[in-house]
Symmetry: C2
Subunit: 89 residues, 2 copies
């Protein structure tokens, strides 16, 4: 099954997410999207780059999209940047 | 003069860089590249999104490139992710 998979980046260590991406690729998934918001954006880029350089050398960037999401919090609305990095091989 | 301009993102507040980008666009520059490394990558995305949403509504993403740079430090080489976000209007 070659379906699109999404990995949401949060507070876990970078290598946890790298392992998740690599595992998906090794399970014959051919397209994976890494999503992150706010300060986790830097980590998402690290995850994609470590995956490509150390583990899945033939993975390529299909698309990198950034946008602004509006979150509802206790003190009202706040805006946060987000990124979606799609890797294919 | 419509030449390509580059803004390097460092430790200053986000709005300092937004102001620099907006000033360039208002000086008839039509393409600006925002570059950042490591944890500043999240800030670079914020800078691009704030510019587009609050100040230069017709700015578009021309390209978003991520890669790995190798830095020489006291303890040897280290790898750091980087991003280049090119905005045009």
């Amino acid at each position: 099954m070659a379906e699109e998979n999404v990995i949401f980046v949060g507070k876990k260590p970078t290598m946890n997410y790298v392992l998740a991406v690599v595992t998906q690729f090794n399970n014959n998934v051919d397209r994976i999207t890494i999503k992150a918001r706010g300060k986790a954006i830097s980590k998402a880029v690290d995850i994609a780059e470590i995956t490509r350089h150390k583990f899945i050398q033939n993975a390529k960037y299909q698309n990198i999209k950034v946008e602004t999401e509006t979150l509802q919090g206790e003190r009202g609305e706040s805006n946060v940047s987000s990124i979606e990095i799609t890797l294919t091989r």
